[in-house]
């Protein structure tokens, strides 16, 4: 007789909700367009449904974090593991997706591409990320990574009328398929060597001297290095960031980074713990990413490309604590991811707020003298740039400090020094926007659009978090972010 497994729906509740939300948006699109309702009315339905879904997911994540995890969906064959670590990541991913989805409404209308599919794809991609961050089996990892990526390929080309957007989608798709193929091949090799896809089983059987297994490990690493845009798997990043609609860039630049880094953290800790040589490879990737990302960012003329190279450099910073493998390093990764989400999303939010009548504000000249016309926006942009550069008083500084200490405690002094030096270089390009906004004479300004309420909410949220994480990262009783990251890292080790 086949035993009936006990299933715990709560474990897949976020994914279910996101999927249901996505279909609800699609259905709504169908009915609203057939009735010929005005686009803005439809827009509020889309934003409402997807925003509410994401908000519920954030709440579920918070609840899950407080109750220190949930049982696996099928405890006999656990594919997902919902511990504090997963819930922290789910909360972060869903929160970032929520902010991106609030940003999209006004932006898509300005670009006249306001279709419900955008939100459906965004929700589906988020569902993939949720799967990815809680996966403890390579099968679910692959499922998650594909569910995350495929909607993103479509989203990158969402502005169908623009060749750049199409080019971006195609490039992302080709390079992404290549990386996924390598990843899948790596999983196959690891399975061949260990006979398992579950992390715990792999950890028990992985032999660091077995070439086939290690080749598999290498390929899996490459697959993730592509997703986090680490050098030398980074080259798609500037093209895709520049070509994709800014709302999509904002969404994927933060959420994919969170999801991929979190999954990589878990894989390294729970499956590949015995492969110590990985630390060296990661350190090397970190060094290359920090160097090349920061140097290339200097010479960009387009703000989105600059932010793309900055994303590569930031991936380098994140790889530094990852390479240490210590719980402190893992906590530092989580904290810096939170820092990065708000700083980067905030910067894109400012660009989105300046988008007007299909005209994006993505050249440095577009920001000349902005402080005079839009003092609030300019001040917010300064805050986000200063945070990305890691200047004291902002989240970026606190994040880099955590990474720095983690690296030093793990005897990674050269990396720590390289990080400090390249951060200094980064100040040069991050401050180009503030200089343009405050010190250049104003141009003829087409950007006269009023800030809508949703954009204001996103900007204010990002600004508050950048300040709170920078000034009181562990002071507020109800927001002890550093404690949370340490609790999450502890959950990672307990498995």
């Amino acid at each position: 007789m086949i035993p009936v497994p006990t299933l715990h729906i709560v474990a897949i509740l976020p994914v279910l909700l996101l999927a249901v939300g996505a279909f609800a948006v699609l259905l709504a699109e169908l009915f609203l367009s057939s009735r010929g309702t005005g686009k803005s009315g439809a827009g509020s339905v889309f934003v409402g449904v997807s925003g509410a879904t994401l908000l519920v997911v954030v709440v579920i994540a918070a609840q899950g974090f407080i109750s220190a995890g949930a049982p696996a969906f099928n405890p006999d064959h656990p594919m997902l593991h919902l511990d504090r670590f997963s819930y922290f990541a789910i909360g972060l991913v869903a929160g970032a997706a929520l902010l991106s989805c609030l940003l999209a409404n006004g932006y898509l209308q300005e670009l006249r591409i306001h279709h419900g599919e955008f939100y459906a794809l965004l929700l589906l991609s988020t569902a993939g990320m949720v799967l990815l961050v809680s996966a403890v089996d390579f099968l679910s990892v692959f499922l998650g990574i594909e569910l995350m990526s495929i909607p993103l390929y479509v989203l990158a080309g969402f502005d169908r009328g623009k060749p750049r957007s199409n080019e971006s989608a195609l490039k992302y798709f080709i390079a992404g398929s290549f990386a996924t193929a390598l990843l899948l091949y790596g999983m196959a090799l690891v399975y061949g060597a260990t006979g398992a896809t579950h992390f715990a089983a792999i950890a028990a059987r992985l032999d660091p001297d077995d070439s086939m297994a290690m080749a598999g490990v290498a390929l899996i690493l490459v697959g993730f290095a592509f997703k986090v845009s680490s050098v030398p798997f980074h080259q798609w990043t500037p093209d895709v960031y520049e070509g994709a609609p800014t709302a999509v860039t904002a969404f994927m630049s933060v959420t994919v980074k969170v999801a991929a880094f979190v999954a990589l953290l878990r894989i390294l800790a729970q499956a590949f713990g015995s492969a110590e040589a990985l630390g060296t490879v990661l350190a090397l990737l970190a060094a290359l990413s920090m160097l090349i990302g920061n140097l290339m960012a200097i010479i960009q003329d387009n703000v989105k490309r600059m932010l793309a190279w900055s994303a590569i450099a930031q991936a380098g910073y994140l790889l530094v604590p990852l390479s240490t493998g210590t719980p402190e390093g893992q906590a530092a990764v989580l904290f810096y991811l939170a820092v990065y989400v708000f700083g980067n999303l905030g910067a894109f939010a400012v660009m989105i707020a300046l988008t007007h009548r299909g005209q994006e504000a993505d050249r440095f000249e577009d920001f000349d003298g902005l402080a005079k016309f839009r003092p609030g926006l300019a001040a917010a942009m300064v805050l986000f740039m200063v945070s990305l550069a890691g200047i004291p008083g902002t989240a970026g500084f606190m994040g880099k400090l955590q990474i720095f200490f983690a690296a030093i405690r793990a005897d990674q002094l050269p990396l720590a020094i390289l990080m400090a030096l390249t951060s200094v270089v980064s100040v040069y390009y991050y401050l180009r926007l503030p200089i343009a906004m405050y010190m250049r004479p104003a141009r003829e300004h087409p950007h006269r659009k009023e800030l809508d309420f949703l954009e204001f909410t996103v900007l204010a949220t990002c600004a508050i978090f950048v300040l709170v994480l920078g000034l009181l990262p562990n002071t507020l009783d109800w927001l002890p972010v550093i404690d949370w990251t340490h609790q999450s890292a502890a959950a990672l080790a307990s498995k």
Binding site: K171, A175, F178, V217, V222, V281, M296, Y428
Partner: protein, 672 residues
């Protein structure tokens, strides 16, 4: 905290003005809409008034304790805790700070009320009115933090805060560039002093850390200080290499800070220019409270100065010379506020003289009476200025006693108090200083100091009566039109004047007469109240000596006043003759010994040139901006020009190729 008494209302005293300032700031900054006039007034005056009431209750709570152990404390939170170093945000109320908070909130409250009338024009025109009160509240907060701080670091926070507010308020009418310049000048000169404060604090902390104390709290400093009181330090070679007593060195550093804040030689130059601010500001900040912070600092650290006779002697001499110098300059000034400014510098010199002679109680007592009568004089001068439509030149006034009855009477009260007329408030405090200087045989040259102080007292009487006669008596030197429109100031102006005048006249008798003059049981109550906190040098005093000195001082002051009467009322033609007779000497005094010009020539101009030509154009623009930063970017751009094509070619084939290479490299490293 040392088992001292907790008093948890203490933080409300600075918190109330802060809250008012924050609300003003939010209205102006976020809402961008000034509050209605009446709301602004209620908020600001209410906050300061309540702070005064609370200060009074705190004083009552303090007096209930036995005389030797009058200390109330309240710790809020640990501000900085770094290794052995820790600084709390905590407040300390002892008799010394109790006196200060009463002056700050009390005189502050009166000046808030006065400002309602004085700043009326700004209320009608723009939102400057509320901005003014926001700054005033912020100042009150900072000053209260300064005097209530339980440790040096928190005190420094207040110290910097009052400096900032002073800067903001001097340049309050910033559309006039001169005002903005004066504000900057005050701020920059104060920086020199602040440097001394910081170095002193670091030295003290460094020395105390060696003996195992990591606190900068006053009470703990006081306990730990004797351990290092006799330490010597070897100065580095370029400073002479001599052996110095550590206490002296620290004392001099703190005095540099005090001299900057309290406008002593050679850092006094900012105070006369600070008169560019609105008159209530001059009264509050540049007469009654902020400029006395230096005196407060010295008295607060009196345990240190008692062990540093060298530093004390320097303070006494600098104080005496400042008093004399400023009094001489005041004689020849014609701007009503400049005269009062130099007079303030001179009176502050008196306070330092007393502190330097070890008579800290006398210094604080004079600080208190000075707060009354100098605030009064400034406010009365403001009332005059208001009446004559912002004319400040006394050569263009005269004969005003017919129009400004209340102003004139209160002004006279202030003049009599500062001149030291018997039984006015200034009489008691000034005589106490003269007495302590006369007795201070531990200070080198104390006899000379006494004569300087006495002579200055005569000068003070002279220039104050000169000011009084020139404004209110003689022929009017205004046009008929101007005369016609003169009227007494509104009641919000005159009532504070009357309150202050009562204090200036009777405050001395009520609060702390020497028992030599009023033989009652509770005499000298002020001195007895503050004495336990201060390391005063005690002398046996004979009553007859006290009488003799007072008689001499009164005589000298009377001579000064009589001379002014003779020159400016009886024989108004004489001053011009004397001026001609003195020629160059007079112009030297009138031009304030050209100290400002001297500083400008030898310090300011070379520095400006250095920073403009060398640092800005050479170092910053050419070297850093152009060569280092621009060069790096250009270099990378040039070097990467070829690489760039490859790195950003946009061709997916190239991307995939690089990925493949990377993958193979990683596999090669990991697998083989």
């Amino acid at each position: 905290m040392n088992g001292a008494n907790e008093y948890d209302l203490l933080h409300w005293i600075p918190a109330l003005p802060l809250a008012a300032a924050v609300i003003h700031g939010l209205c102006l900054g976020l809402w961008r809409q000034p509050l209605p006039r009446i709301a602004t007034i209620a908020l600001s005056c209410g906050a300061t008034g309540l702070a005064f009431v609370l200060s009074f209750f705190a004083l009552l709570a303090l007096t209930e304790l036995p005389a030797g152990s009058r200390v109330l404390q309240e710790g809020l939170f640990t501000w900085i805790g770094a290794g052995p170093f820790s600084a709390e945000v905590a407040f300390l109320l002892d008799p010394l700070s109790a006196v200060m908070i009463l002056i700050v909130s009390g005189v502050g409250f009166l000046i808030h009320v006065y400002s309602i009338g004085y700043m009326d024009a700004d209320a009608r025109e723009d939102k400057g009115f509320q901005r003014f009160f926001a700054y005033l509240n912020l100042f009150t907060f900072s000053m209260l933090v300064l005097v209530l701080a339980d440790n040096l670091l928190l005190m420094f926070l207040g110290w910097e805060g009052v400096g900032l507010c002073s800067y903001l308020l001097i340049g309050f009418w910033y559309s006039d560039e001169w005002n903005a310049y004066c504000g900057s000048k005050a701020f920059i000169v104060n920086r020199i002093g602040d440097f001394g404060f910081l170095v002193g604090m670091f030295l003290l902390f460094w020395a105390l850390q060696d003996v195992g104390s990591g606190s900068v709290a006053f009470l703990e400093l006081q306990t730990a200080f004797p351990l290092i009181a006799d330490q010597m330090v070897q100065l580095p070679g370029w400073l002479g290499g001599a052996q110095w007593k550590l206490a002296t060195l620290i004392g001099l550093c703190f005095f540099l800070g005090a001299a900057g804040k309290s406008a002593q030689l050679p850092l006094y130059v900012w105070l006369p220019d600070a008169m560019a601010g609105p008159t209530p500001v001059s009264a509050l900040i540049h007469a009654a409270t902020m400029v006395t912070a230096g005196v407060y600092l010295i008295c607060r650290m009196s345990f240190l100065y008692a062990a540093a006779p060298g530093a004390s002697a320097v303070i006494a001499w600098v104080g005496a010379l400042t008093a004399l110098f400023a009094a001489v300059v005041a004689i020849a000034q014609t701007d009503i506020k400049k005269v009062l400014a130099y007079s303030t510098v001179s009176q502050l010199g008196y306070m330092f003289l007393a502190a330097g002679c070890g008579a800290y109680g006398a210094a604080i007592w004079h600080l208190t009476t000075h707060a009354w009568f100098k605030a009064l004089l400034f406010l009365a001068a403001g009332s005059v200025i208001l009446a004559v439509h912002h004319e400040q030149d006394i050569d263009k006034m005269g004969g005003l006693h017919r129009f400004l009855v209340w102003t004139r009477l209160t002004f006279l009260a202030g003049v009599l108090a500062i001149a030291g007329a018997p039984y006015f408030s200034g009489f008691f405090s000034k005589d106490e200083i003269l007495l302590s200087v006369h007795l201070a045989d531990h200070v080198p040259g104390h006899a000379a100091l006494y004569w300087i102080a006495l002579f200055t007292a005569g000068l003070t009487a002279f220039y104050m009566f000169r000011l009084y006669f020139r404004i209110f008596f003689g022929e009017s030197r205004m046009t008929r039109d101007q005369q016609g429109s003169i009227q007494e100031s509104p009641r919000t102006v005159t009532i504070p004047l009357i309150v202050l005048a009562i204090l200036a006249v009777a405050g001395g008798v009520v609060f702390g007469p020497s028992e030599a003059f009023i033989p009652i049981e509770d005499a000298n109550s002020f001195g007895n109240f503050v004495a336990p906190v201060l390391a005063t040098v005690h002398h046996e005093v004979e009553r007859s000596l006290e009488w003799q000195l007072a008689a001499v001082a009164t005589l000298v002051a009377f001579l000064g006043a009589a001379l002014a009467y003779g020159l400016y009322v009886v024989r108004p033609a004489y001053p011009a003759k004397i001026r001609r007779l003195l020629g160059g000497v007079f112009r030297l005094v009138e031009g304030r010994f050209w100290i400002d010009e001297l500083y400008d020539r030898i310090l300011v101009q070379p520095l400006v040139k250095l920073s403009d030509r060398v640092l800005y154009r050479g170092l910053d623009a050419r070297l850093l901006d152009d060569m280092v930063i621009g060069g790096t970017a250009r270099g990378i751009r040039a070097a990467a020009a070829d690489m760039l094509k490859f790195a950003q070619s946009g061709l997916v084939q190239g991307y995939l190729f690089l990925m493949l290479v990377g993958t193979l490299a990683i596999i090669g490293y990991l697998a083989f």
